[in-house]
């Protein structure tokens, strides 16, 4: 009996309905046949239909443009000569100066716009650093196991015992340079254990899967197993947590700056602006209001984005 074609009627019948074979694993209730997809294209499909994702993505895109080219939105620069005029001190918002002036007579609108760059840089830099360090060590700990895993895991627990703010105060007061990169480094030092923990957990959950065993049985080396078979299956939770964390790091930067140990003058930061204006909050609330508003919207946008990504990547939440 050489002819043992499967019970699929004929090759021609296959292309139109590939998903009917085993239900395709997704059940959206739609009857119209559509391209069956991998986890990632499923997620993409879900995301562009999710209003939360669309709104947060638009806000973030806008913020990125602000950060990259603040000159598009204001003709003035906070670094130009004569930018602050003491005669304008604490002037209320007006039609020419929408956000008013701060105590030193600097235009709040221009400063708020220019401060976006620092916040975004801190957020992205911290996220990149924590993700790189955290996932690399998490992968090693999860795959290797044994004493190395124990040592790394206990080491990260030291960081978990330290509240972010308290740790930030401690570390930042040691390197008091007040520039953006230092703040990002401080936050990264305190933030990577969270990514480590999630990556390690995801790797542990995946490394005993049959396909890892099968890859091993077919001669894949350790590196290939780690990069091709474990990592792609473990990366989803890490993506979710880093997106949410980006917002958290931005707000942490503002908090550190507010406390006077983050970004320091002459650099600009929303946290610094809030800090400078807080003593006059009751008399001139606009000085606090506008940077706070930008900060809140930015953090909210990233957290919303993270939420949307999680909904798309975690099939259990559907």
């Amino acid at each position: 009996m050489p002819d043992i074609t499967d019970k699929v009627p004929a090759p021609a019948a296959i292309p139109p309905s590939p998903s009917t074979e085993d239900g395709g694993g997704k059940d959206t209730g739609k009857a119209k046949p559509e391209r069956v997809a991998s986890m990632w294209s499923d997620a993409r499909h879900d995301l562009i239909r999710n209003p939360i994702f669309v709104v947060s993505a638009i806000i973030i895109l806008f913020l990125l443009v602000l950060a990259a080219a603040p000159g598009l939105f204001t003709e003035r620069s906070p670094f130009e000569k004569g930018f602050c005029q003491l005669s304008d001190s604490a002037s209320k918002p007006s039609s020419e100066n929408w956000f008013g002036f701060d105590t030193l007579g600097c235009d709040v609108y221009t400063r708020t716009i220019y401060a976006t760059r620092n916040s975004i840089i801190v957020g992205i830099l911290t996220t990149v650093l924590t993700t790189l360090v955290g996932s690399l060590l998490g992968m090693i700990a999860g795959l290797r196991g044994g004493w190395l895993d124990s040592v790394l895991s206990r080491f990260t627990e030291i960081f978990f015992a330290l509240p972010l703010m308290l740790g930030g105060l401690l570390v930042a007061s040691i390197f008091q340079t007040g520039n953006v990169v230092t703040v990002a480094l401080v936050l990264a030092v305190l933030g990577w254990p969270q990514v480590f923990r999630i990556m390690r957990g995801a790797v542990l959950a995946n490394k005993h899967n049959d396909y890892v065993m099968a890859a091993k049985a077919l001669g894949a080396g350790t590196w290939r197993i780690a990069m091709r078979h474990v990592l792609p299956n473990a990366v989803a939770p890490v993506i979710v947590i880093t997106t949410i964390n980006l917002g958290v790091y931005i707000s942490a930067e503002a908090a550190l700056s507010y406390l006077g140990i983050g970004v320091q003058s002459p650099n600009i930061s929303w946290g610094l602006m809030i800090s400078d204006a807080q003593s006059r909050f009751l008399i001139s609330p606009h000085m606090v209001l506008f940077p706070s508003l930008f900060l809140s919207i930015t953090v909210l946008a990233f957290i919303m984005l993270g939420d949307a990504v999680r909904d798309a990547l975690d099939p259990k939440l559907r």
Binding site: I4, P15, E21, S38, M39, D210, P232
Partner: protein, 352 residues
């Protein structure tokens, strides 16, 4: 069909142990797992051999050590908690247990390959099947992406997946169970290994597809003249495909025999029990036979013959002395090639 007619570019059949060395020989293999409850002796001195072109079926219920033996051969046991205190695994006469990790990795996939039970969970869900098939060539043969893809399509054709070129970019969940198992077979066959170990390749499939997959496996084995170790607990699957059978119980081989001999005249009470518990239409209405009791706990196997608490023929000697694998002969002492039984009362079992 047409796909099989590629015999021209198939390498000439490997000489079946012309130098007297079988393809794979397992000698006195022991595997232990150190657990909190004590040492579980999963494999206790297994001996078997496979030659090129031959199919050995390893039969046994869950926990009899058949899969652990296979994993030890492949070298994919998690070494703590498992240890191999004794034994040899000779591949082309060379002991693989003495090789370095890298040497063994090079053998895996290219010279010995394995097919797993559950093809869905054995295929990586985030990579397309074409990629996973091509990976074999890229890892072991250093082919480019494009060449690997072409090879992948060729392989999918060979295992009779319809519209291979169109489906090469599809993901594992888009295939049916039988198709997935074909892809697993294709992966194992990719580099034309000398030996394939199939660990319950049809258990997760429904009966009609089972037959097709076994047929395919047997065809390809003949075509490439490979050795095949077929691990199963399904007596029905074995009968058509295997040349010889090794029955395992509690980490030991309790009976070996050429396939039809075993069905005709089992020489071990365990094998007899297994055969008697196959449902038959002509015994409709009667109670189905079952071997009483449970398989032994591997951390505390009973003294003597491990099967003695469940054996209808057990005597005092069975509770004290572990039976060797005795050569089984005809009633008049005539030799029966390849037959052996680890039972003190094999004579009574086969002839009585």
């Amino acid at each position: 069909m047409t796909i099989i007619d590629k015999t021209a570019d198939v390498p000439a059949p490997r000489e079946a142990g012309s130098d007297g060395v079988p393809l794979l020989e397992v000698r006195d293999l022991h595997v232990e797992f150190h657990t909190r409850e004590g040492t579980a002796r999963a494999v206790n001195g297994v001996n078997y051999s496979v030659s090129a072109g031959e199919t050995l079926a390893v039969l046994g219920e869950s926990g009899s050590g058949k899969s652990v033996t296979a994993q030890a051969i492949m070298g994919i046991l998690d070494m703590p908690p498992a240890t191999i205190p004794r034994g040899e695994i000779l591949f082309h006469g060379e002991d693989m247990l003495k090789m370095s990790g890298e040497e063994r990795r090079k053998i895996r996939g290219s010279r010995i390959a394995m097919i797993f039970q559950d093809a869905l969970s054995s295929l990586n869900p985030v990579l397309s099947v074409g990629y996973q098939l091509g990976e074999m060539f890229r890892v072991h043969r250093a082919l480019s992406r494009k060449e690997a893809k072409a090879k992948a399509i060729e392989l999918m054709d060979r295992v009779k997946i319809p519209a291979a070129a169109a489906r090469v970019g599809d993901y594992p969940h888009q295939f049916s169970g039988g198709m997935r198992q074909r892809i697993m077979i294709a992966m194992a066959l990719a580099l034309e290994p000398d030996l394939i170990i199939a660990d319950e390749p049809t258990t997760a499939l429904d009966v009609t597809v089972q037959a097709q997959v076994m047929e395919l496996l047997a065809d390809l084995q003949r075509e490439f003249n490979m050795g095949l170790i077929l691990i199963t607990h399904d007596l029905g699957v074995v009968a058509d495909v295997a040349d010889k059978i090794a029955v395992m119980y509690a980490g030991r081989i309790v009976e070996t025999a050429p396939v039809h001999e075993l069905y005709k005249r089992p020489a071990h009470p365990y094998t007899r029990g297994l055969l008697d518990s196959i449902p038959r239409l002509d015994q409709k209405g009667q109670e189905l036979y079952a071997i009483k009791g449970l398989p032994p706990n591997l951390t505390s196997t009973p003294p003597g013959c491990a099967f003695n608490p469940r054996c209808p023929k057990a005597q005092d000697i069975c509770r004290t002395d572990i039976p060797q694998l005795f050569p089984v002969t005809e009633r008049d002492g005539g030799e029966l090639a390849g037959r052996g039984s680890a039972c003190h009362f094999w004579k009574e079992t086969i002839h009585g």
